[in-house]
């Protein structure tokens, strides 16, 4: 067994992981830091974020306003102390990234430019045209090259966390190129492994977003918080699920039903005006827009296509010059992937699974209840997103909480003894497990692709935009059966060299855990709030459910759900008002 020892280990090289790595290196340059990632860091899904990142910069804006938009957007499920830290540190982090070379779009005088975004009352979304995540990720990755202590394990798949004596002290990782299993020991581990949109069939998420970190933390005793909240983005291209950024609406795009009517006006989202009005109509929050789509579709006012009903996103009136300047990637994506030019044609769109509000429960420094285990980014739930994330808060969250977790982990690691040698035995067990369950098995009959696709269909049917007791139970029964079938999975690939089928099987196992937790959490929350809409409990119920679900794995391997209080500091729960 090959064993390496570091002080702080990052699982994930996306925006959160790279920001955290730099924070560790700056907090204590004497520490050895390693970034472990199943893909080369610049392939991480942060790369595909388009619209922008929120932070207060304009004179007319305030931290209170950003906090209020975030909390009301999250239907009062956000922990308000976390939101306060978030808005307070957001601007500094964004300027820091500017100093590290991020090519933010500018005003004529050279200052940072901003654009409006859904659910935000004041313009505070910084952007780099409509490739914000791409530029942020490359700037961060390139900047890490300045820090010699940051070592990388590229294309290493982490299969489990090493916990001994209640303390996380490293991970087991499979080197994909060689199939070698290694123990990577550390005094602190930060999970920055991103979300898990691949639990669902139709998603903006890359193939690699399989919730590995959430599942591994859960298996190690850390609770998953608010997992029932899955964000559907209202505007994805049919078939591919490619995202058409909210920036298209922020710049003035309209959503039209089959009659060319701006239907959002019928859903208490305001009255149409020719130019965008903040927190109104097309700039309402994502949960409400996706729900309005379902109603239009049910009423027969959407446009049927082979890939389901769509509505139209119309940006033609913006004109070619604005489209090319502000949302060039939207045009590129439409031309390449939908064979249409948004300058001349309307874009067909439908809601698509986009983001997980829930994740590994952490405190404001990214610490989880498992000592030595930290988490930041989409994998974590700190929680600033509550029941519905506002667009452009996530990229900023990666920076603020990535940096916080990095600093906290560096301090923690500095005070810890060396990792225990008992862990190497655990890693050897893991190596044997991979062989027994996958590579060396000859009696399997089930295929990874079949189980994955049946799970995805079951989740869409059971826990989509609208759910109820029955739909959730049907899906849960199905997922339990799939879990049984997974025990008989057979790989056609027994090679040690770059075995992507083995990686897919390990990812599927994590996805099944996530599916189970999402369903159990959704069943427990007998109310409707934000992105969690129960047709059998259509109202928000603050008496019963102004609380976070916390899912822990029980002895029998099944999730147990408990409720934790929401931290309210300044903003008592109120009505969510848009367009009025």
């Amino acid at each position: 067994m090959d064993t390496r020892v570091h002080d702080v280990l990052l699982v994930g090289g996306g925006g959160a992981g790279l920001r955290a790595a730099i924070a560790v290196a700056e907090t204590n340059p004497g520490l050895s830091v390693a970034v472990v990632s199943k893909v080369y860091p610049m392939r991480s899904h942060t790369v595909s974020a388009e619209g922008g990142a929120a932070a207060v910069v304009r004179d007319e804006d305030s931290l209170e306003a950003h906090a209020y938009d975030t909390i009301s957007g999250g239907d009062w499920l956000c922990d308000q102390d976390a939101v306060e830290a978030f808005v307070r540190e957001a601007t500094r982090e964004m300027v820091q990234l500017e100093h590290w070379g991020c090519p933010w779009s500018r005003q004529p005088d050279g200052r940072i430019a901003t654009r409006p975004f859904g659910g935000m009352k004041i313009e505070r979304t910084w952007y780099a045209a409509d490739k914000t995540g791409f530029h942020m990720l490359h700037a961060l990755f390139q900047t890490t090259l300045r820090y010699p202590p940051i070592k990388r394990y590229d294309e290493f798949f982490v299969t489990r966390l090493l916990v001994d004596d209640g303390r996380c002290q490293g991970v087991v990782a499979l080197e994909v190129a060689t199939g070698k299993v290694q123990a990577l020991l550390a005094k602190a581990v930060i999970l920055c492994s991103g979300g898990g949109g691949k639990v669902f069939p139709f998603t903006t998420n890359a193939n690699i977003k399989t919730g590995d970190g959430m599942a591994m933390a859960y298996q190690s005793g850390a609770p998953l918080k608010d997992m029932e909240f899955v964000q559907y983005h209202p505007t994805g291209l049919p078939f591919t699920g490619i995202l058409i950024t909210e920036a298209a609406r922020a710049e003035g795009g309209w959503l039209l039903n089959k009659d060319g009517y701006r239907y959002l006006q019928d859903y208490d989202l305001g009255t149409p005006s020719p130019t965008p009005v903040k927190r109104s109509m097309e700039l309402g929050p994502r949960d409400r827009l996706s729900q309005a789509f379902v109603a239009e579709s049910k009423a027969g006012r959407a446009i049927p296509t082979p890939y389901g009903d769509v509505v139209h996103l119309d940006v033609r009136h913006l004109g070619e010059a604005v489209i090319d300047k502000k949302i060039p990637f939207v045009r590129e994506l439409c031309l390449k992937y939908q064979k249409l030019d948004p300058v001349k044609e309307m874009i067909p769109v439908r809601p698509v699974v986009h983001y997980m509000m829930g994740g590994v429960a952490t405190d404001l420094d990214g610490a989880t209840p498992v000592a030595g285990l930290f988490a930041a980014g989409e994998v974590a739930c700190v929680s600033i997103n509550g029941a519905n994330r506002l667009g452009s808060n996530s990229l900023t969250e990666l920076l603020v909480f990535g940096a916080r977790a990095g600093r906290a982990a560096a301090r923690f690691a500095g005070a810890q003894p060396d990792p225990s040698s008992a862990l190497v035995a655990q890693a050897a067990d893991e190596e044997r497990r991979l062989h027994r369950d996958f590579l060396g098995r000859t009696d399997g009959t089930e295929r990874v692709a079949d189980i994955r696709s049946e799970m995805q269909q079951a989740m869409e049917a059971g826990a989509g935009i609208y759910r109820d007791e029955e739909s959730i139970q049907v899906a849960a029964t199905k997922v339990a059966a799939l879990r049984q079938r997974f025990r008989r999975v057979a790989l056609q690939d027994s090679s040690r060299t770059f075995n992507t089928e083995l990686v897919s099987a390990l990812e599927l196992s994590n996805l099944l855990d996530l599916a189970e937790v999402i369903l159990a959490s959704a069943a427990a929350r007998r109310e409707s709030r934000g992105a969690h809409q129960r047709t059998d409990f259509p109202e928000r119920d603050d008496e019963g459910f102004l609380a976070h679900t916390m899912a822990r794995q029980g002895e029998d391997g099944r999730p147990r759900i408990e409720f934790d209080p929401v931290t309210i500091t300044t903003w008592p729960p109120g009505e969510r008002v848009y367009g009025r």
Partner: protein, 247 residues
């Protein structure tokens, strides 16, 4: 339109064979399908052991570059339909040692990216508390194009120099160096010049521009090389003819 097409895919399993072989698969064609969808069909339905890289399926992560009918392309952005009636031959990018099937070893490329010091270099850094460095839209436009590189390596695969001169630092790395050299916030051009001039091959580049032709993001690495050569020549003559101006 035919309903299926033959995909001839390069296979190489180092534990089993010493030489790559080609394996043919009959794959259905749908109007929306890219080459990558065809490969996914093979992996999910026909042969789970086929290995290749992909992630975003939206042309931005840079992981799915392969040779398709001999041409370096992003497989997630190339319609199957455009290559009918086939057969469609899929191979790993040229210029990178093959690890397995369609997967190449990109260690060398990653080292070259890092070598050009692709980050802001300044004598003095302004404290973050003092706010952003001002940069006008015109200044941004100076380097913007070179900042669009997704590290897909199609340009390396197309480059005739890289094939015969593996030390050549290559199109994307030079474009990346220029991305920082031309950034109004940066002062590291001289350091990068020193790095580039140590690397073999740059003067061998004939500027035929195969790299720019295959680039899916219009980065125009050939243009970057051209600009670099001009500034390097000026620099060279300055140092020889006007040594007092070297600073």
């Amino acid at each position: 339109m035919s309903d299926t097409v033959t995909m001839e895919v390069l296979r190489y399993r180092p534990e089993e064979e010493t030489e790559p072989t080609y394996e043919s698969f009959e794959v259905p064609v749908q109007p929306e399908w890219m080459i990558l969808d065809g490969l996914n069909h093979i992996k999910d339905q026909l042969d789970g052991s086929l290995s290749y890289r992909w992630a975003c399926r939206m042309g931005v992560c840079g992981s799915c570059g392969m040779l398709v009918n001999g041409r370096p392309v992003l497989t997630c952005a190339t319609y199957m339909e455009s290559l009918l009636p086939g057969p469609i031959r899929v191979e790993p990018l040229r210029g990178f040692p093959v690890i397995r099937d369609l997967v190449g070893d990109i260690t060398d490329f990653m080292g070259k990216l890092a070598a050009v010091k692709p980050y802001i270099v300044r004598e003095e850094e302004k404290p973050v508390e003092e706010g952003e460095y001002l940069q006008t839209p015109e200044e941004l436009a100076e380097y913007k194009q070179y900042s669009m590189c997704i590290n897909c390596m199609l340009c390396y695969s197309a480059c005739p120099i890289y094939r015969i001169e593996p030390d050549f630092i290559g199109p994307a790395a030079i474009a990346l160096a220029q991305r920082y050299n031309l950034d109004s916030r940066d002062e590291g051009a001289q350091e990068r010049m020193d790095v580039l001039s140590q690397h073999a091959g740059i003067w061998g580049c004939t500027l035929v521009g195969e790299c720019s032709e295959v680039c899916p993001k219009d980065v125009d690495p050939a243009g970057a090389i051209q600009r670099y050569k001009v500034s390097a020549t000026v620099d060279f003559f300055k140092s020889v003819l006007m040594p007092w101006r070297k600073e």
